[in-house]
């Protein structure tokens, strides 16, 4: 193991888990960093703001935006999906030998990650760099959450590209 890798082992890394292709996300991370003995803080953020895409559902004049029972089911699905994503990420991280802590928080993902990185004195934030329907590289490749984190993180940010 090189000295550089030894230094990386001591890092406290905050990693945003978004629920999609967690294995691919860790592949990208493990290719760059030796995660054995690293301290990994895994975060899943349950978005509390407007849900992107739901505005595509038209509203009848005078009608509801989203029926209350649908709102409940959707909120449950989000929590359930978040818990599954964190459990899967924890499992993979432990297999890679990292020391793992995980948090399931509410809010706008970019804001939550930056505040947590500051509060937890993270040395590095790792986040998926590409968003839905965006090019892998070039202008516009970063999703809004990654863009916010790059702009506001108190520590260095590692942008992970999809392995494919």
């Amino acid at each position: 193991m090189t000295d550089a890798q030894n230094v990386l082992n001591q890092l406290r890394i905050l990693m945003l888990v978004d629920g999609f292709d967690t294995e691919g996300l860790f592949d990208s991370l493990a290719r760059l960093l030796q995660l054995r003995e690293a301290e990994l803080l895994l975060v899943f953020v349950h978005r509390t703001g407007p849900r992107p895409g739901l505005e595509l559902a038209p509203r009848r004049p005078g009608g509801h935006d989203l029926a209350p029972h649908r709102e409940r089911e959707l909120a449950n699905a989000e929590v359930e999906g978040g818990n599954q994503a964190l459990a899967e990420a924890e499992k993979i991280a432990r297999q890679l030998g990292a020391r793992v802590e995980s948090r399931h928080l509410d809010g706008e993902p970019g804001h939550v990650v930056c505040e947590l990185a500051k509060a937890e004195r993270a040395d590095l934030v790792a986040v998926r760099g590409t968003g839905h329907g965006r090019p892998q590289v070039g202008p516009g490749s970063l999703g809004p959450t990654a863009r916010f984190i790059v702009d506001h993180s108190p520590c260095p940010v590692l942008l992970l590209r999809d392995s494919g």
């Binding site: 629920g19 999609f20 292709d21 703001g49 407007p50 849900r51 992107p52 895409g53 739901l54 505005e55 595509l56 559902a57 038209p58 509203r59 009848r60 004049p61 005078g62 009608g63 509801h64 989203l66 029926a67 209350p68 029972h69 649908r70 089911e73 959707l74 699905a77 989000e78 359930e80 999906g81 599954q84 994503a85 839905h132 329907g133 999703g143 809004p144 916010f148 494919g164």
Partner: protein
């Protein structure tokens, strides 16, 4: 003076409806416009009453549609259908995307685009969230298919019922002109969106469909009775369209029958019913009828329609004129008021009698497929984009415009060619 006043009230009301200042409901803005039409004497009370009462079939149809969708929702039909689509996908995100297109097309065809867009969207959002797939491809599939499949049957879009009442076209005639165009529109929309979302929908998922269906269908007897009722209603719609029955009566009878099933099984939920029944919608539509009557009596709609059809020399070119005009108007002011203006203008003598039918078929196609260009009409889409971008929210409308810029022209052109050829 009379004409200018009618035009002013109509245009200001439509702008307020689209812009929705201070989130004022479209229904109240439209009602205010209708009251102004009456107060200024542009429309007489008798004229207003006639304009609203003569469209009783559409009101009944909307009410029946809402009842049917409400009971189907209470029985877990939409969740069951989405679970079935996920189970048939075998863990592939791309196959699920294709299945969502199929599901959207079937629900739009038999329960209308309204049910697909309003009810299926949150159902699909929930299932894809639970399966940890990217939601956008699936939401776009539902949203685009709600329009793309909405001319398959006369009941697939309330606009078809409205236009059909004036065309008096039996099912065989209707399908003779529109079925092939509808299938082409469904195929084009599916193909374009599958290509666009090929990478985003690449995820895989595990799905315990047995447990999902168990939780979606809490009362098996109620569910089975509802599905049987929906199938019978679909058959009644087809028979009714063939025999030129008023489809509003069929829809109300179907909705009432399903409601009786829900009452008998003690499954009727007043809260759920309230979320589906929107009384303000009836105010909105009634007010639109009065507003359009105002501009019709002032000679504006016949003049507008006559301009749109002025270059048409035969049935084929009348189809194209109606289609282009109503597609553009649907994106500017929304498709329901747009098609009302076209019907009113054609009725009031704006279109030569020989071109009346092809022109209205073209207008129907434009109003059904045109909205795929902008999600909620061009003006409100622009306002919406400005507002949500200012708030820093991820914007799906740009994606919609990008895809719509491909899908809408392709489906409109193919429909124009097919429908125009059907009149030769």
């Amino acid at each position: 003076m009379h004409t200018a006043l009618a035009a002013l009230i109509f245009m200001v009301t439509l702008v307020v409806i689209v812009v929705r200042p201070r989130q004022i409901s479209e229904a109240w803005s439209a009602a205010a416009g209708a009251v102004l039409m009456l107060a200024t004497g542009v429309v007489s009370p008798l004229g207003a009453l006639t304009a609203v009462a003569s469209e009783w079939n559409l009101f009944l149809f909307f009410f029946g549609l809402m009842l049917t969708a409400a009971i189907a929702d209470m029985a877990g039909f939409f969740d069951w259908a989405a679970d079935l689509a996920a189970a048939a996908a075998g863990g592939s995100g791309r196959r699920l995307l294709f299945n969502v297109f199929v599901l959207g097309a079937v629900i739009t065809t038999f329960l209308s685009n309204d049910a697909t867009a309003i009810i299926l969207t949150p159902v699909v959002y929930t299932i894809t969230t639970r399966l940890r797939l990217r939601v956008m491809p699936y939401l776009f599939a539902v949203s685009f298919m709600a329009n793309a499949a909405s001319m398959t049957l006369p009941i697939s879009n309330p606009i078809n019922v409205l236009t059909g009442d004036h065309l008096r076209a039996a099912l065989a005639v209707y399908e003779g002109h529109l079925l092939l165009a509808s299938l082409a529109s469904i195929a084009i929309t599916t193909a374009v969106l599958m290509v666009f979302f090929w990478r985003s929908a690449a995820g895989r998922f595990e799905f315990d469909w047995r447990s999902a269906i168990r939780s979606a269908v809490s009362d098996r007897g109620f569910f089975v009775a509802t599905v049987v009722g929906l199938v019978l209603l679909a058959v009644a719609y087809i028979v009714g369209s063939a025999l030129l029955w008023p489809l509003g009566v069929v829809a109300i009878a179907g909705g009432a029958g399903l409601m009786a099933v829900a009452v008998a099984r003690r499954r009727l939920s007043r809260d759920r019913l309230n979320t589906h029944i929107s009384p303000a919608l009836f105010v909105y539509i009634a007010a639109l009828f009065i507003l359009v009557r105002g501009v019709q009596d002032a000679g504006i709609t016949p003049a507008l329609v006559s301009t749109a059809v002025s270059q048409a020399s035969d049935a084929g070119s009348a189809v194209v004129a109606g289609l282009i005009g109503s597609a553009i108007a649907s994106n500017l002011i929304n498709n329901l008021p747009a098609v009302l203006v076209f019907i009113s203008g054609a009725q009031a003598g704006g279109v030569p009698t020989s071109l009346h039918t092809p022109f209205l078929f073209g207008a129907l196609v434009g109003a059904d497929l045109g909205p795929n260009l902008t999600p909620v009409g061009a003006l409100s889409t622009m306002l919406w984009l400005v507002i949500v971008r200012r708030r820093g929210v991820q914007v799906s409308a740009w994606d919609f415009l990008k895809i719509g810029a491909v899908v809408a022209p392709l489906t409109l052109i193919s429909a124009a060619v097919i429908v125009a050829a059907s009149f030769r």
